[in-house]
């Protein structure tokens, strides 16, 4: 494994260099070299925009093969709450649990119990916090990466709390083997992810050595496996069949639910990576005053806009609202238990989020400045139309590639052409 793990790759045979990914990449991590897309492992923040946008389907998500599940004696699936919104609201969430059991899982556990506990913890954390503001939610792994790569100065603002999925997985790993008399390695815990960043956060977490999950599947993969079972189960379903102990709660699936949990009046909720960058710029330049907490999600409308989902995000959002109205039960939190665990550091991340140092030009100050001057000089001579034919997303990115030695002057189709040729 290289220094930075990523959950997608370019399928060279399919890629025909159409540059859609290069243009959309929020960190300018992608270049087209010799007609094929390549991405910088250092700069990629796993948002998955390139997967959604590729017209050739050449960006492939690297999820775990379903066959690997067989290696475990007892299999637990932890679906992202958004999974339920991929189905019509007439389908009771309990049916989806049953469908999981039919396809071979021994247990289905939702993350909503953990998110209810974490809501308490977050509120408590913000009330007692007295450092630099605003605090930034740690929920979206892609945003955490974006901060590490592009806004290293802001890492200290990321709330050092675990996310519901990890708390859930740990709870399972700590209790189930004992209850069933199995060894810890016999119990496999799997997550159903809405985006590549969630996979990466499990394979190579930003704030700890390893995740509590054993593997990750995508919503897309799971949906196609579940669908025939869901349809069949719905035929013979009756509300009476739902056991009393079954509780449905959409948890933090909807954008703004973390903000509500934070319990402060001075909040912001931001979705979409371009909007996220604007807000992070403002925070970095101290322009966002009087805000205490910011919930930021990389995809429009939050996880519901994740690239692994099958349903249109707006349809899914409507589904989720209807499901909440029809099936949701509030989750009772054992406040004493939560307070005790919080004191023991149970909800805190193992280690702080650290900047992911990317050297822009060089480690040496004098060389760096020299390269920057070179870069400005080259840029002045370029057409600044960001045509992309050289393989870089903007003329500025091309100038930077040139001085780093990653591109040639001759890659630019305009360089050396006289001004009159412009028309």
């Amino acid at each position: 494994m290289s220094e930075f793990y990523h959950a997608h790759r370019v399928v060279e045979d399919l890629c025909c260099g159409r540059m859609a990914c290069m243009r959309i990449c929020p960190t300018q991590a992608i270049r087209v070299r010799s007609g094929k897309a390549v991405f910088s492992e250092e700069l990629c923040v796993d948002c998955g925009e390139c997967l959604s946008v590729c017209p050739s389907g050449a960006m492939e998500a690297l999820t775990d093969p379903v066959a690997e599940l067989a290696d475990f004696k007892y299999k637990v699936i932890v679906p992202a709450p958004v999974l339920y919104s991929q189905f019509d609201p007439s389908i009771h969430p309990y049916i989806i649990h049953q469908a999981f059991k039919e396809v071979g899982f021994d247990q289905v556990t939702d993350v909503s119990t953990s998110s209810a506990a974490l809501a308490h913890v977050l509120k408590e954390y913000i009330q007692t916090y007295s450092g630099r503001l605003p605090l930034i939610s740690s929920f979206c792994p892609s945003i955490v990466r974006l901060i590490q790569v592009k806004y290293p100065d802001l890492v200290e603002l990321v709330v050092p709390l675990e996310v519901p999925r990890e708390v859930t997985a740990r709870e399972i790993k700590k209790t189930i083997p004992q209850q069933l008399g199995l060894r810890e390695e016999d119990v496999g815990v799997f997550y159903v992810a809405t985006c590549p960043a969630k996979i990466v956060s499990i394979k190579q977490p930003a704030e700890k050595v390893r995740s509590w999950f054993d593997g990750v599947l995508s919503v897309k993969d799971v949906y196609s496996i579940l669908l025939p079972h869901v349809i069949a189960l719905k035929e013979k379903f009756d509300e009476e069949m739902v056991p009393d102990e079954y509780v449905f709660n959409s948890g933090w699936a909807a954008t703004g639910s973390i903000t509500r949990a934070a319990g402060t009046d001075n909040w912001l909720t931001v979705t979409g990576i371009d909007h996220a960058k604007k807000i992070l710029d403002d925070i970095e330049n101290s322009r966002l005053r009087n805000v205490e907490f910011v919930e930021i999600a990389a995809h429009m409308e939050g996880c519901i806009g994740g690239p692994f989902n099958v349903e249109n995000p707006y349809v899914a959002r409507a589904n989720m609202i209807k499901q909440s109205q029809r099936y949701e039960t509030p989750i009772e939190v054992d406040a004493e238990d939560v307070a005790r665990k919080l004191k023991d550091g149970y909800y805190m991340t193992e280690s702080p989020v650290l900047p992911r140092a990317t050297t822009y030009f060089d480690t040496d100050l004098a060389t760096s400045i020299k390269r920057m001057k070179e870069c400005e000089r080259v840029y002045k001579k370029l057409r600044k139309i960001d045509c992309g034919v050289c393989g870089a997303p903007t003329c500025m990115a091309f100038a930077e590639d040139l001085v780093r030695g990653d591109a040639e002057f001759t890659d630019c189709i305009f360089l050396g052409k006289k001004e009159e040729d412009k028309q």
Binding site: N285, L365, F409
Partner: protein, 265 residues
């Protein structure tokens, strides 16, 4: 010196260029390393190089040179000659090697007194790595903060420590806001050396009558309108004082204010 003089002294052949070589060049820059040409070459220079490729021609064009002399009798291919034509560069070739070509060019230079321009170049301390001058428009609240944002991104690019950048950015932003609020126009001078970053912000504003009071937290002469926008809480100057390693303020009523901030690397 004139290109004609150089051509005659070096016994060079003109491969591409006008008949009339009465064109003035400011200095000779001799190098085979094109990144050095881009970084250190001054506009209107003449390049001496052994690199007879298209790369050399484009680099000279980028660096706004007037001419290129290929040493050791190198002859470029047609492509390079065409590139010189397209970019209005004079292209010559001499049989002399690099050292001899430089020595001969130096003799032309010695023949005349140093021009005022080259004297001022020498006056800069050698260690000055970066010098930028930027303008702040007073009363322009819509684009307020652009200058400090620009400085921040420059410092990020050259790879300074994050905490240091933050201190510089906060101080510059506060000073910039002061200019926007209280002056018509201001200038920012950013200089970087291997040991420090210096930011000087000078405005032509109404000046501060009592600098000592202005340094006290909470002291403010901002209008209600400015306060409504979240500025003018009287934290600006104290904030700069806290963040800069050295801070000097000079102000004269009716003339303007100059802030001098130094940050050690």
């Amino acid at each position: 010196m004139k290109i004609k003089q150089i051509k005659e002294t070096l016994g060079a052949t003109v491969l591409e260029g006008p008949d009339n070589l009465e064109i003035e060049v400011s200095q000779v820059y001799a190098s085979d390393l094109m990144s050095d040409v881009l970084a250190f070459g001054k506009p209107h220079s003449i390049l001496f190089t052994g690199l007879a490729t298209r790369q050399a021609i484009i680099s000279a064009h980028m660096a706004e040179f007037k001419a290129v002399v290929l040493v050791r009798g190198k002859i470029p291919n047609d492509n390079s000659v065409k590139m010189a034509r397209d970019t209005d560069l004079i292209l010559m070739s001499t049989d002399l090697d690099m050292f001899d070509a430089c020595v001969r060019a130096d003799s032309i230079q010695k023949g005349k007194a140093l021009s005022s321009e080259s004297v001022s170049e020498k006056a800069f301390p050698e260690e000055l790595l970066l010098a930028q001058e930027l303008v702040i428009e007073g009363d322009d609240f819509a684009s307020a903060g652009m200058v400090s944002t620009g400085i921040k991104s420059t410092l990020k690019k050259i790879g300074l420590d994050n905490v240091l950048i933050r201190r510089i950015a906060i101080s510059t932003y506060e000073a910039e806001m002061n200019v926007v609020m209280h002056a018509d126009k201001g200038k920012v001078f950013l200089t970087v050396t291997p040991t420090y970053v210096k930011v000087v912000i000078a405005d032509q504003g109404k000046g501060i009558p009592d600098v000592e009071s202005a340094m006290v937290e909470g002291f403010s002469t901002a209008t209600e309108e400015m306060r409504a926008m979240g500025f003018g809480a009287g934290m600006g100057l104290p904030n700069i004082n806290r963040n800069a390693d050295e801070f000097e303020i000079q102000s004269e009523v009716g003339v303007g204010t100059t802030l001098n901030m130094k940050f050690l690397i």
